[in-house]
């Protein structure tokens, strides 16, 4: 059994309100040297024949809206 790990983030230039809230919360907790936070999702997808092409296909059919998001394959196992 193989697996692919892929991250999905908002594209550069798309405002990330969740990231800003996290940054603001960190500042309120006294961690004030954070310059930027981006919030994204990490999927670990277990499947037979895990390949880059297969993970790209999964991103295209469901995980990514290409208007605002982009993905990066972090790891392919097996």
């Amino acid at each position: 059994m193989g697996a692919g790990t892929v991250s999905v983030f908002l594209k550069e230039g798309v405002h990330d309100p969740e990231g800003e809230k996290v940054k603001e919360s960190l500042r309120l907790l006294g961690i004030d040297r954070v310059t930027r936070v981006r919030v994204g999702k990490l999927y670990r997808i277990e499947l037979e024949d895990a390949t880059t092409e297969k993970i790209d296909e999964i991103c295209a059919v469901l995980l990514v809206n290409p208007v605002i998001e982009c993905h990066e394959i972090m790891e392919i196992e097996g």
Partner: protein, 275 residues
């Protein structure tokens, strides 16, 4: 006059939607998306389709993404349905589904509709779930809004966390040019809406889109929650003004269109027999 109210796990407001459809003389039938995918031909039994609001599939991945992924398997049947001038209404989460499917806005290359989402409805600028009445200006007169009329400003309840429309300049210009912006949020004195009048930070204050032919409408606010006079803000202080809520016009427009279509097809059938 059967209308399909399409649901899946996490849909809500289907009861209010069905109630609104029945109140304007249509026959709503709740259909689970799984049933429709198993038998796509059943879509031909319906004169209209409504995708209600809610949090389909828990809003996992993105709002409406999983519902849309299911429906993509029967996109051809949906396109046939739309091409036959059957009305399709997506409310809130249903609007997200229509956007994820790439049905709204309608972008064509030549005569062919291009596939995939063209815009996104994503997390509100405030990063919060925003729930309150909003004021909308009707920008486009189509079968759903003919009872409101272009330029009319009306109050609708809004309740969502992912309603911020993001678009490219080119797509936006196309939407304006082809008259696909159905509703915009407006601020005090009918001026441009900043936050909180625009609850989500949507580009150009866009609250709803309609396709070129005017038979597919998606809107973030909820017409089914603005149907009766006692659903309007401040109704306890103004009990004498028993006018329907503005949401009724949307469903009534849909019913009128469906009835016109049925009458036309009966007449065509009769002409055909005579011929």
């Amino acid at each position: 006059m059967d209308v399909c109210v399409l649901v899946m796990e996490g849909t809500n407001n289907e009861e209010e939607t069905s109630h609104s459809l029945a109140a304007v003389g249509l026959r709503p039938q709740t259909v689970c998306v799984g049933e429709l995918i198993a038998r796509p031909s059943m879509l031909r039994n319906y004169r209209g389709l409504v995708i209600p609001g809610g949090f389909s599939a828990g809003d996992y991945v993105r709002g409406g993404a999983i519902f849309a992924a299911y429906l993509r398997t029967i996109l051809l049947e949906l396109e046939e349905f739309i091409a036959a001038d059957r009305p399709v209404l997506g409310i809130c989460n249903g609007f997200q589904v229509l956007v994820e499917l790439g049905l709204l806005p309608e972008v064509k290359t030549g005569d062919t509709r291009t596939c995939g989402p063209k815009v996104a409805l994503t997390r509100n600028e405030s990063a919060r779930f925003e729930c309150r009445p909003v004021r909308l200006r009707c920008e486009n007169e189509n079968l759903f809004t003919r009872g409101l009329g272009a330029g009319r400003i009306a109050e609708f309840p809004s309740a969502h966390a992912e309603g911020r429309l993001i678009t490219s300049q080119a797509i936006w210009e196309g939407m304006v040019k082809t008259n696909q912006i159905a509703f915009r949020y407006v601020g005090p004195n009918s001026g441009p809406a900043g936050y909180p009048y625009n609850p989500n930070g949507s580009f150009d204050n866009i609250a709803g889109l309609v396709n070129r032919a005017g038979n597919v409408l998606g809107m973030m606010p909820h017409p089914e929650r603005a149907f009766h006079w006692y659903q309007k803000t401040g109704w306890t202080r103004n009990k004498d003004a028993r006018e329907h809520g503005p949401g009724r016009a949307i469903f009534a427009g849909m019913a009128e269109h469906i009835k016109d279509q049925a009458t036309r097809s009966l007449k065509d059938g009769a002409d055909h027999e005579e011929g």
